[in-house]
């Protein structure tokens, strides 16, 4: 165990989630879960409860948390896809090959499923109801295996065959909502990561995707605004900052940013309005006061 921890420490951040869990990059959901549970048995702090772990104690808890966050990411289809595309270059040769294999077999499977759905969509008369039920069940099955995209396809076909069945629509709406939420979250996370690495153009793309999937995301709008400012795109920054202000009118940071942008574009009146709104909520905001004085 101590050796294992030392090895993990030595490899540190270069370890991919697949390597950490000890699975190949084309592993399915069940394999990933079983690998995580077996590893937990040795890494969870409870397995070492009241035992002398000395300087390894904090390491155990650190690596257990790494393990469980790796599992969390790989167990959701969207976040796993985002992880795969963001970290492709870090994967080993064999894992990259495995990833390609997985994508290929997925594409093949999707193609077959699509053809089957198309065949079923051509069903006529009363048989359509039965076909819809079959597709609905298939959709449920997919959803359980974490394959949300496939599930949505199956349910959409089911809805077309039998538009009157409420449970199909309910499940579809639920999955679609879940999908946008998951997409928004993973886009937001990769936006943050890219922003930290100062890859602003790519970060804006990610933040924009997050905003598209969750139009209520203040964090996405602010992120995009920050990155647009960094890459000196004043027009884009203004659009994003005003969205942010719209979403959370009481946030002083967003208003401050917007006032600055208006000012540098020569729109003094609008800058003044923004600063006024800011100061009415935060009368002691020094920076806003100073800016208003210069106007």
């Amino acid at each position: 165990m101590q050796n294992e921890l030392q090895q993990l420490e030595a490899r540190g951040d270069r370890l991919t989630h697949y390597e950490l869990l000890g699975v190949s990059a084309d592993a399915d959901g069940g394999t990933i879960r079983r690998a995580y549970l077996e590893k937990s048995k040795r890494f969870h702090p409870d397995a070492w409860y009241r035992k002398e772990t000395g300087r390894f104690g904090p390491l155990l808890s650190k690596w257990f948390q790494r393990l469980s966050s790796a599992y969390q990411i790989l167990s959701d289809e969207e976040s796993r896809a985002a992880y795969d595309s963001d970290h492709r270059t870090e994967l080993s040769q064999t894992d990259r090959a495995a990833l390609d294999r997985r994508e290929l077999s997925r594409a093949e499977e999707e193609r077959r499923a699509r053809e089957r759905r198309e065949r079923m969509l051509r069903t006529k008369g009363f048989a359509r109801i039965g076909a819809a039920r079959k597709l609905y069940e298939e959709g449920q099955e997919y959803a359980l295996n974490g394959e949300r995209t496939q599930a949505i396809f199956a349910l959409k076909a089911a809805r077309e065959l039998d538009p009157n069945r409420k449970e199909i629509v309910t499940k579809l709406v639920e999955l679609e909502r879940e999908q946008s939420r998951a997409r928004a979250n993973s886009a937001l996370a990769s936006g943050r990561e890219r922003e930290e690495r100062r890859r602003f153009a790519e970060a804006i793309t990610a933040y924009a995707a997050a905003f598209q999937n969750d139009p209520g995301s203040f964090a996405a709008a602010m992120g995009a605004a920050r990155c647009a400012m960094e890459s000196s795109d004043a027009r884009a920054a203004t659009i994003w900052a005003s969205r942010a202000v719209e979403l959370n009118p009481e946030d002083a940071g967003a208003r401050m940013m917007l006032s600055r942008l208006f000012l540098s574009a020569g729109m003094k009146a609008r800058a003044r309005t923004e600063l006024g709104a800011l100061l009415s909520k935060n009368p002691d905001h020094k920076e806003a006061k100073a800016l208003l004085r210069t106007l």
């Binding site: 937990s40 702090p45 359980l144 639920e174 959370n248 002691d284």
Partner: protein, 611 residues
Amino acid sequence: MGELVIGIDLGTTNSVCATVQNGTPTVISNRTGYRITPSVVAMARNGKRLVGALARRQAVTNPERTVVAVKRLMGRRWSAKTTQEAIQRMPYSVVAGPHDDVRISLGEQQYSPPEISAMVLTELRLDAEAFFGAPVTKAVITCPAYFNDSQRNATKDAGRIAGLEVIRIINEPTSAALAYGFGKAQGERQVAVFDLGGGTFDFTVLHMFKGVFEVEATGGDSLLGGEDFDNRIIDFLSEPFRQKHGTDLRKDKMALQRLRDAAEKAKCELSSLKQVEINLPFISASQQAGPLHLQATLSRDQLEQMTADLVKRCMQVCERVLGEAKVHAAQLGDVLLVGGQTRMPKIQEEVRRLFGKEPAKNVNPDEAVALGASIQGAMLLHDEQEMLLLDVTPHSLGIAIAGGFFQKIIAKNTTVPTSAHHVFTTVKDDQTSAKITVLQGESETSADNELLGEFMLTGLRAAPRGAVDIDVIFDISADGIVSVSAIDMQTGTRQSITVTASSGLTEDEIKKAARSNEDWMLGQKEDPEFQDRKNRAEELFREFETLWPRLTRAAHNGLGQEPLQRAQAALSVARLQLAQRESDALAGSLERLERMLQALRGALERSQGGA
């Protein structure tokens, strides 16, 4: 065999204590021989502390000084709306405590909910010590999965006051699943636990694989339980009575206690019968009509109708949690029913309907939780069977941000232990302190979430605004208990954090309560004089018993009934004194009994001699 450790299911209405003995989880019977101890505490008129069945039995005659369902008040803030609603129905008096917490008035004294719970725990600890014949200091205590941080801390405090080192707080449904999965084949399976106890409802989905129990999602309602079903029956009984006689029985504490007992009894009987009669003679009296009686019939259908919304609330929680776990009801391997209220046929029927299968039969709804807790204790201290529990946090954890919003830092259903951090920047020039409000809940508005505490970050460097970055680290331990620390990122110095207690007891109060509880226990245990009197009393009871058939015969043959009746009365007085540990009074009774015994023996000999 390693260190002794017990598992305790500290329930709203009943508590159970268990341990793992020779690899088998076993319920520890209490000293009166029952496997279940009512979670009831009373202060008798003579100032004695009564716990369990004894306290419950005298509740009708002493409702103001009998505390039931204290679990509903654990870790709650006085000012919370839910608290005010909960105390409406309590026959005892609940008042505001010094830290916006609640206190219970019993006679002269005021007690916090953890202190009352500690009395129940102490009783169970004494039972366990009698069982092992050795001191017990370590325990795993269960709480509803839906308990928040303050409720968990209050439970832990109760353990400490009872002199127990609480090595872990675990969630009740998870605990039941441990009992279910203990010693089962290594296969992979998914189960759901439907836990409807006296005061809370929890629903949890778990995944089991090779001895690892992974909680996938959990949810519930911390103010929905068997007692709400009882309350519906109480309303059903007292409403027509109020209309007819103009008296609201719910306002009369003694009547309310009788109603409560009758309602619970009727509810239990309706699990097997279709209809029951409820008779409460002399429940009240009016000036004109004299004594008033309450008589009613209640059918199972009526009960189901009047509690339909409660059952529906349970089912809605189930559906929501299944959605969060991304599980389809029909896909589950097993559904476990835990908690006494799940004996209600309507609930079993709804569970069958939702999950499309029979609930698992091999789980005892009253004992599974305590057994699971004892297994967890053995897992931690004795490496039991290479098992591991991966539990999750039931609530999202976050902070209040500008504009009254709530920012999540750790999402709910995240596996614990876990930690997350958040970087704060100073917003003013030369700012030297910052207030951080930590909240638990799911609402986007911070005011709608549960306040865990406010942390003052002090001693920040004086610098222009934005120049000081503080990394605040949030930890949730394997018990689900939250802690917060902060580091100044530029200097690497750890910041001192002062916690303004938002509810519950202070460290000093806990220590003081633990000391006074310890004193009480010493008074109970180490009294050789009482032990002697107890042995003598039991001996006397036996002698009277063996003599009784001859005495009854003699009574018919000229001795008369009177000496027998006197003896019987003296015996029952002595029994009561023994149960209530009234040592000095018992000594007096024993003397009287001995004199009676001698006199009766003499009388028997004379009558035999005369025959």
